[in-house]
């Protein structure tokens, strides 16, 4: 594969030991992160762009659309969320297109902690998970006990997955160990009750090198998923930063045998975009990740576009927004 090969990619057994060492102290972690190979920004963007030019048609497109629907974390994270809106969204996740029962369910709904119980009640008896953001989302500017309490609340309300934000302030100030330990603490809070997604807010990390470092911190700390963005800043998931994170999970598995999921979130609105991301997954980490256990889309309006495209494929007529719900 013509992608970046990390310097520590070959000799896995020897490197594992080095990995344990990597998190032993602040300076060791810094050495490890700064020892990761630099990202070739031009090459990364060119690679992401070239993978976006694939033409996916007919049966392959139908497969991709259903796969994408099944990977969506249907999200509503607004201050104006009402129980009614969350119930409607959960009902949609369980039955995205009432006119066509062959439509797959979404992977999860993603809500604020206080809405978890509401969503859970609607989704009882389905396999749709409830994900909850936590740890003072989206800014993450709160003390650790507050973040842990936030997480505990969500889990007690029944959340199956926790989407936490990292402390970007600490990361950008170079206090990597603080970031790592915070993730570990939240992971411990999740225990075996909830899978942990770690949001880096890539739009605030400034450089691709930082995104790679953040990815490794997340994975070293035990994240089940690494996630691009909160959806609350100007730059959210892009093909390039998602490709970079996919390479990170690929390298991490090659090194440790531990598989970590990836979730691009925010700004993915069209079927075309979603399919581009699926191509990235297939070409970078392969089929092992083409499943909603390992890859998710954080999105809301994307689902409507996927449903409209699905209707187009099944009826031959272009559909319109009158035929999907207004969320």
């Amino acid at each position: 594969m013509p992608t970046t090969v990390p310097a520590h990619g070959n000799d896995a057994a020897g490197r594992l030991k080095e990995l344990a060492d990597a998190t032993a102290s602040d300076s060791a972690l810094r050495r490890f992160l700064h020892g990761l190979p630099g990202v070739d920004a031009v090459g990364l963007e060119a690679r992401a762009a070239s993978l976006g030019t694939r033409s996916i048609k007919t049966t392959a497109k139908a497969y991709a659309i259903d796969l994408a629907i099944s990977m969506i974390d249907l999200t509503t994270l607004e201050g104006a969320d009402t129980p009614g809106k969350v119930r409607a969204l959960a009902a949609k996740a369980a039955n995205p297109d009432p006119t066509d029962r062959t439509t797959p369910r979404t992977a999860a709904v993603c809500v604020y902690p206080d809405m978890v119980a509401t969503a859970k009640a609607v989704l009882a008896g389905t396999d749709v998970k409830v994900a909850s953001v936590a740890t003072a989302f989206p800014a993450g500017r709160a003390a650790l006990p507050v973040k842990l309490a936030d997480t505990r609340d969500a889990i007690e309300a029944g959340a199956d997955e926790i989407d936490m934000v990292i402390d970007r302030g600490a990361f950008l100030a170079g206090r990597y160990m603080d970031v790592l330990e915070e993730i570990r603490a939240v992971k411990a809070e999740c225990g075996d009750k909830a899978r942990l997604k770690v949001i880096f807010e890539t739009g605030e990390l400034s450089t691709y090198d930082n995104i790679r470092r953040a990815s490794w911190i997340g994975m070293l700390a035990g994240a089940d998923f690494i996630k691009t963005s909160t959806g609350k800043v100007a730059v959210n998931a892009t093909p390039a930063n998602t490709l970079l994170m996919l390479e990170a999970v690929r390298d991490f598995r090659a090194l440790t045998g531990v598989q970590v999921g990836v979730k691009p979130a925010g700004g993915i609105r069209t079927t075309k975009d979603a399919i581009k991301f699926l191509v990235l997954v297939n070409e970078t980490v392969g089929e092992d990740w083409l499943d909603n256990t390992w890859f998710r889309f954080g999105a809301s309006s994307l689902l409507n576009d996927l449903l409209m495209q699905r209707q187009k494929l099944s009826t031959g007529r272009y559909s319109g927004p009158d035929y999907v719900t207004v969320d």
């Binding site: 031959g316 007529r317 272009y318 559909s319 319109g320 927004p321 035929y323």
Partner: protein
């Protein structure tokens, strides 16, 4: 004697206020009435039609929500801009339709006058299509008209400019947005009209111009679930029937093709064709079951 190289114009589509090439990358040769090559025009595909509908749908809110007075001003501005490019349109119409200069001038002048005429109608059409209705109960009963939404327009095949303006202007005057399929043989005046619209305060997406094979583009517009009405002016009898069947699926309004003298005064029919009537019952507060208490 000048030794300048000739500068050929690249005709492009007009979609969402921008000038894209066809998504398919295809073009076709446009000739004058004697068969001499004039230019290459984009040969639009179904996907171009889909993109145009998306652009038109996006523009519905802003355009139908604008005040009728404002829409009138914008349409009048179109006439002003056309006046400034009169010579270009005269030349294009003369070449496309094989007319003498004098006859082409008459066509273009009539087309400009038609913009002005429809510009005047924007804030008056409501008075003649709506009003209060007499009802046998203690209610005020008021009807008012609203635009239908996204209208697909197959422009007349023969009258490349006057006919084109005569089908676009009435549809947008009342607040609809349109996707126009230009005359297949003579699309150049329509594509140039896009350049005029882009510079005359018409919001992007209100008018979208496609060129290409009518029989290729029209069926996907007729079947499109997000198109609210279709004007079949440029379809022949066989195609019109097929399109009408496809349009029935989501109960589109259909304006059937009819013999029209484009030079004659148009009347309000083409405006009222793409309007919906909303009727509101409002209690008067009177206790009597019938008649007025005043």
């Amino acid at each position: 004697m000048s030794d300048r190289l000739s500068v050929f114009k690249t005709y492009k589509l007009f979609v969402g206020g921008k000038f894209p090439r066809s998504e398919s990358g295809r073009v076709y040769e446009v000739t004058d009435s004697k068969g001499n090559w004039l230019a290459n025009a984009p040969l639009s595909s179904r996907k171009d039609a889909r993109d145009a509908v998306v652009a038109a749908r996006k523009a519905v809110g802003g355009w139908s929500g604008a005040t009728a007075y404002n829409r009138g001003q914008v349409l009048y501005r179109v006439a002003e801009m056309l006046e400034g490019r009169r010579d270009q349109f005269v030349a294009e119409v003369a070449e496309a339709e094989g007319l003498t200069k004098a006859k082409a001038v008459a066509q273009v002048d009539a087309a400009i006058d038609r913009w002005v005429w429809y510009a005047g109608w924007t804030d008056k059409i409501g008075q003649i299509t709506g009003g209060t209705n007499p009802v046998a109960g203690p209610f005020f009963n008021v009807s008012s008209t609203e635009p239908t939404g996204v209208v697909a327009v197959l422009a007349p095949q023969e009258s490349s400019f006057l006919g084109l303006v005569s089908v676009i202007a009435p549809a947008i005057a009342t607040g609809n947005t349109v996707v126009v399929v230009a005359s297949e043989k003579a699309p150049l005046p329509a594509l140039s009209l896009g350049e005029v619209l882009a510079t005359s305060d018409v919001p992007g997406g209100v008018v979208n111009v496609l060129s290409g094979r009518t029989a290729e583009i029209a069926p996907s517009l007729a079947a499109h679930q997000d198109v609210n009405a279709i004007d079949l002016a440029g379809a022949d009898a066989g195609l019109a029937k097929e399109l009408e069947i496809a349009a029935a699926d989501n109960l589109k309004r259909v304006l059937r093709p009819q013999a029209v003298d484009w030079a004659a005064a148009p009347g309000t029919d083409r405006m009222t064709a793409f309007l919906e009537t909303r009727t509101v019952w409002h209690p008067t507060g009177s206790l009597g079951a019938g008649g007025s208490s005043y």
